[in-house]
Symmetry: C2
Subunit: 386 residues, 2 copies
């Protein structure tokens, strides 16, 4: 297998993009990535696109071909990949394997979701398709409810408190203030979270990532050729993926995401690194409890210690480990198919020293962690400067 | 890149499977493929799944993880790929690249669609998402209408007749009689097609592939290890994919699928073969006119000669070139995400000499051709015995 690097990345503005259509967002992020890489469109040999719910919401499937068409890249191969909220992550990994295989030298990977134009009940049902439709959603278990069950169990077993969870949202909003692409630029307090009203107890409105329109894209290149395009490519030194039961009720444990642990163990082994080697990580905080479980399952803190660590500020910018410098899903926004790619763009910027006021000092090794559904898919990538 | 072979394949029965759920069909085909390969589930290292419309119809996304779960294969990576009616084809190619890269030695690729439990208008709208939703479906251009436009132009430019198109359906029904997995086992005549009523003139009911439930699966293995599993693996000697504009109105030509021509040219180059070397091909006959365009675009007949060739029987079993020995999409049925994989299973059986009464004599080289939408995606693979 060949080594693969990122030679460019770009984002659309995340938020309620009522001014832009699904395809406009793809073009906005894709064009930014191509310009950042300093390449011509004709140098791109294939496209992989992450998107979850365009069929149900926008009425548009076949979005790989749509990407190629509206980026002016026909007739290159274009493939959509989907794994719910990890759609971006699995698309990135499909692109990674396509370059690693030797089939292509340069591949574009994009992710997109258009979500804010629709009735929120329709969006909740569409997102519910990330879990087990027949065994969960059909009986009313939407995603806040599933993560609320995990939060309750985590509170019971480890004494995690609502304030500890709230601290994740507070920190992520603080980071997002310095991210021009983020949906929210307002700082919030623990009190704000505590008073924000229950969505599914113990999760409150400000424990939950929002509904967002947005797109993200990266250009991948065989590492051996990456420095032809730019002086500071970022190498993907491990890309690992794992699965778990799609229904929460079939899991052995409610306080961890087993797929995250399996993918992380594989990624650390391939990179020959350990959790303490990671300087900056974008983790999948679809809900605040998810960030607490993630920093435990990725090995940054012992199981049960993620809550206290968050409350003590150990995951803040330039603390013990900088978690979600972009603002995470909570404050950057969570356009489902784009999230896994947005994480990679943020880590690219961090390792290139381009993260401005949210820059992690001396960042050498970065990680992204993208989860699908309630944990039935996890993708963990590790990065360093080439 | 490593060579990749198929070491096992399996199908569910195709048809109106009201007795089986979406996930049941996956298990039916997946289990058949694993048994055919003679492997244990634990030897499978990753899954790629093709499916188009589960989100819109069944309400279930994240189907890669669902496949892994219900086949008992957690925690291996599982990724869904989608390219409308070429979803199976792009999933197969993603699995091919994953093995070719050296990341995995053994990968399962499945495809599924559950379509007959729903209102036919809902299915027509879901399938319309394979084209350009904003520029085509929104204005009423469903898929029969799009292919009818191509048929009219082909008739105008080349004198293709409705009888010529009908002859494709007649031949495919004849082949399907000997395929136990096919949706239809009744022979039809050109008169039957001509009298079957217009769906979108000049296409009549029996020019159109049906709505079908079904699943298909293959097990891929690095060729260097394939003979450990069975004595007669089938090597994928080329796997090529191309894209075109998603909207028919933006094409330069209405009488060919440019993506098919690009993918085929790439596949012939990689395999160092020419059209006359192909003994048996499964081509994408979603409509009868699509088969005529396919046999032209793949180089088996000159442009404009596909209609007369079909009417003269040159594509019948054991004639000049055996096209759609399975019965094609028309008579085997077209469960969208499964079709591209089903084609590979049929070619595997043909090259292994296991196609019973539909066996092509001395079949050495096979091809599959899977199209998404009105031709915005095409996947062309070439196969031989390892």
């Amino acid at each position: 297998m060949r080594s693969v690097s990122i030679i460019g990345g770009g984002l659309s503005k995340f938020g309620e993009r009522w001014d832009k259509s699904f395809r406009d967002l793809v073009v906005e992020a894709g064009t930014a990535a191509v310009i950042d890489a300093g390449i011509e469109g004709r140098e791109i040999q294939a496209i992989y696109g992450g998107c979850m719910s365009s069929g149900r919401l926008v009425g548009q499937e076949h979005v790989g071909a749509l990407f190629a068409d509206f980026l002016g890249l026909n007739p290159i191969p274009a493939t959509r990949c989907e794994a719910a909220c990890a759609s971006g992550g699995v698309a990135l990994r499909a692109g990674y394997l396509a370059v690693a295989s030797g089939m292509y030298d340069v591949v574009a990977v994009g992710g997109v979701e258009k979500m804010t134009d629709f009735d929120s009940a329709d969006v909740a049902i569409a997102l519910g398709g990330a879990g087990d439709m027949e065994h969960e959603l059909f009986f009313g278990a939407t995603f806040p409810a599933l993560y609320a069950l995990m939060a309750r169990r985590h509170m019971l077993e480890y004494g995690t408190t609502e304030e500890m969870m709230a601290s994740c949202s507070v920190k992520n909003h603080k980071n997002a203030v310095h991210n021009p692409y983020a949906q929210y630029h307002n700082e919030i307090t623990i009190e704000d979270v505590m008073n924000s009203g229950y969505i599914a107890s113990p999760l409150k409105l400000l424990d939950c990532s929002p509904i967002t329109d947005g797109a993200a894209a990266v250009i991948l290149c065989a590492s051996e050729k990456a420095k032809k395009f730019r002086k500071d490519p970022v190498e993907i030194i491990a890309s690992s993926q794992a699965s778990d039961t799609i229904s929460l009720s079939n899991r052995h444990c409610m306080t961890e995401l087993h797929a995250t642990k399996v993918a992380a163990a594989d990624a650390y082994r391939r990179a020959n690194l350990k959790p303490s080697d990671i300087d900056v990580a974008e983790v999948h905080d679809c809900f605040s409890i998810a960030e607490i479980m993630a920093i435990e399952d990725l090995g940054f803190f012992d199981k049960g210690k993620g809550g206290p660590a968050s409350l003590e500020g150990l995951t803040a910018l330039n603390s013990e480990i900088s978690i979600n410098t972009s603002g995470g899903l909570k404050a950057t926004g969570h356009p489902v198919g784009a999230t896994g790619i947005k994480q990679a763009v943020e880590i690219m910027w961090q390792l290139q020293g381009k993260a401005d006021k949210r820059q992690v000092k001396d960042a050498e090794i970065g990680m992204t962690h993208n989860v699908g559904g309630s944990g039935a898919t996890a993708v963990v990538n590790i990065y360093k400067r080439l």
